[in-house]
């Protein structure tokens, strides 16, 4: 009898040991399911969309600001741009998502966590198996290349290989040199998803964006087909809509409509901090 107890004990130890070895597959929360976006935060910025000339609170540098000021929304009517997706670091601002875990059915180890965004039907893979990021000269995509690790019960994700995208869809660019760090935190049926963007080319300081989701009862998201069509006759060659420096008539609208000083509307790292309110009080509104 004692012998059987010893064998049983050894088996328990073996199982426990395997749980230590494959630690990430045990104990951490599952994100599997459909998550509905909670739009109470930043609603005007998210569904209706940001206003032209609104860069307040964005740590963009002078070059990025100049680029945004030349941006012309007409590009969204060009066939090549009609189905341009929101990049991975911006996509969490929109609509519902589905997440699922990919498991090695033999070892039960977590290989990857997948995310499908309703918006543009984009899909991401967060590799959890320890694989390295690709060569720096490998293809960059809208979704980038993501690897994840557990920090306690928080899923920490690092994404590289993002091609140039927009930090905000009113012309504020995020460069292809950006590294994005995300944290997924589950509290019961609520998901907090934070995005931390470091862009050495276009940002003065890292940019932080936070979004909340609620687990869905229905478990479904809609389809999102997009097909490009020619909407207007365009010049055959060398055409790209933009404003010459100083000639964008819409840049003042946001500041004027909301009675915000123009300097603040143009953003920069300083506009992110509470101390800026002192300066704000001294600036004229348009």
């Amino acid at each position: 009898m004692k012998g059987w107890d010893a064998i049983r004990g050894a088996r328990v130890m073996a199982v426990l040991a395997s749980m230590v070895v494959v630690g990430p597959a045990f104990g951490q929360p599952s994100f599997a399911g459909v998550w509905n976006m909670t739009l109470t935060e930043d609603f005007p910025d998210r569904l209706p969309g940001p206003e032209l000339g609104d860069y307040a609170g964005l740590p963009l540098n002078d070059s990025d600001r100049a680029r945004a000021q030349s941006w012309n929304a007409t590009i969204l009517s060009l066939p090549d741009y009609q189905c341009r997706v929101h990049p991975a670091d911006y996509a969490n601002s929109f609509a519902d998502i589905r997440m699922w875990h990919e498991i090695d059915t033999t070892t039960q180890e977590l290989i990857a966590i997948h995310i499908q965004h309703f918006a543009w039907n984009t899909q991401r893979t967060i590799w959890m198996d320890g694989r390295p990021h690709p060569h720096e000269m490998a293809e960059h995509t809208s979704m980038g290349f993501s690897t994840g690790e557990w920090v306690g019960n928080t899923l920490k994700v690092t994404t590289t290989h993002l091609k140039e995208g927009w930090l905000r869809r009113n012309g504020v660019a995020r460069s292809d040199a950006a590294t994005v760090t995300e944290h997924f935190i589950r509290h019961d049926n609520h998901l907090t998803w934070s995005v931390f963007v470091q862009d050495p080319k276009y940002l003065e300081e890292p940019f932080f964006r936070n979004r909340d989701y609620t687990l869905s009862d229905t478990g479904s998201i809609g389809a999102y087909p997009c097909e490009s069509v020619v909407e207007v006759v365009l010049p055959e060659q060398g055409y790209f809509p933009h404003y010459l420096p100083g000639e964008n008539p819409f840049l003042i609208e946001y500041a004027r409509n909301h009675k915000i000083p123009s300097e603040a509307a143009m953003g920069g790292a300083k506009t992110m901090y509470p101390e800026y309110r002192k300066r704000l009080a001294q600036l004229p509104t348009p």
Binding site: Y81, W120, H135, M137, T141, S175, Q237, H242, L244
Partner: protein, 327 residues
């Protein structure tokens, strides 16, 4: 004097390792250079080292290369190719004549072979020696000119040239179009489209690392450069949005897709429009440069000293005096 300025500019580019002139002058420590092979599609690879990217297409028929980087790297390049395939190198395509893309022509041609026979073998005894080098005829003219700083020994000259719009091959189970894009980066540029693999090797009409270098001394022009980018956009079909589908191996930089080419085309057109507007306003070149028309793109494409000013100068020059061929 103008030649001196051009020579100085070429020397500056040479030291930057971009679109360089004679390989013999290349002031680099090639011992430290490593050749990395990245798989682009099943049978297409990109070799990254120093100088322009090399495309390697492999299959049952053999090996086709697009461009050859610098001569001192040839042994490493051959070693990298041999890790991919042991088949013979039959073809080398040159996208243009600059030394960072053709410097290894002599060595890599010698490492390959040409299928020869019939009358050809009888009439030309060395017709089977070395790989065939295919390029637009202007590449041959520049590589064989003793007045050209990029000139190569005859063993590095193209052996099969074409004029007109394109040359076609069928190799390793796919059609390959070598498409001439006139008066762009130079007057001898070709982009190479692997039709089944759905990969384009673009040469220096598309790079991800810098503003365009429009070699006006070699027949390049702003208008032709834009037309070449438009040609790439025309060929590329993405899977969705601006991702996937046709992949592009740039002359310098990373493997790209439609979005990357569109972003680059945006920059080239926006900066060109600004310069055009300034020319129409009567501004001089110095005034245009002082106005910094590349300012918003400098963090992305202006890392190399002088790259922005050079792009402005070349654009200004060819917008003021458009070349006939680019139209």
């Amino acid at each position: 004097m103008k030649d001196c300025i051009r020579a100085a500019a070429i020397a500056a580019m040479l030291s930057a390792g971009f679109c360089t002139a004679s390989l013999a002058q290349a002031p680099q420590n090639f011992d430290a250079i490593q050749i990395d092979a990245l798989q682009v599609r099943d049978n297409v690879y990109m070799l990254v080292g120093s100088g322009g990217n090399i495309t390697v297409q492999v299959g049952d028929d053999g090996i086709l290369l697009v461009d050859t980087q610098y001569a001192p790297l040839s042994d490493k390049i051959v070693a990298a190719i041999r890790k991919i395939s042991l088949k013979p190198i039959y073809y080398i395509v040159n996208t243009h004549h600059h030394g960072d893309h053709t410097g290894g022509n002599v060595n890599l041609r010698a490492a390959g072979t040409t299928v020869s026979g019939g009358n050809m073998a009888g009439a030309i005894r060395d017709s089977g020696v070395g790989a065939a080098i295919i390029a637009h005829e202007n590449v041959l003219l520049r590589l064989s000119s003793d007045k050209s700083p990029q000139a190569l020994p005859s063993g590095g000259w193209p052996t099969s040239t074409f004029f007109g719009k394109k040359k076609e091959l069928f190799f390793n189970g796919e059609g390959i179009e070598i498409i001439h894009v006139p008066a762009a980066h130079t007057d001898g540029d070709s982009i190479v489209f692997f039709r089944r693999s759905d990969v384009i090797s673009a040469g220096d009409v598309f790079v991800t690392t810098s503003f365009p270098f429009i070699d006006t001394a070699s027949g390049g022009s702003y208008q032709g450069y834009v037309a070449a980018l438009e040609k790439l956009v025309d060929i590329i079909i993405p899977v969705y949005g601006q991702d996937g589908g046709t992949l592009v191996i740039p002359g310098h930089g990373r493997i790209s897709n439609l979005g990357d080419v569109l972003n680059y085309r945006e920059m080239v057109i926006v900066v060109g429009d600004r310069i055009k507007h300034m020319i129409e306003a009567g501004m001089t070149l110095e005034q245009v440069k002082a106005a910094k028309p590349t300012f918003d793109y400098d963090p992305v494409y202006g890392a190399r000293a002088g790259a922005a000013d050079r792009f402005i100068e070349e654009t200004f020059e060819t917008l003021r005096s458009p070349p006939g061929e680019a139209q």
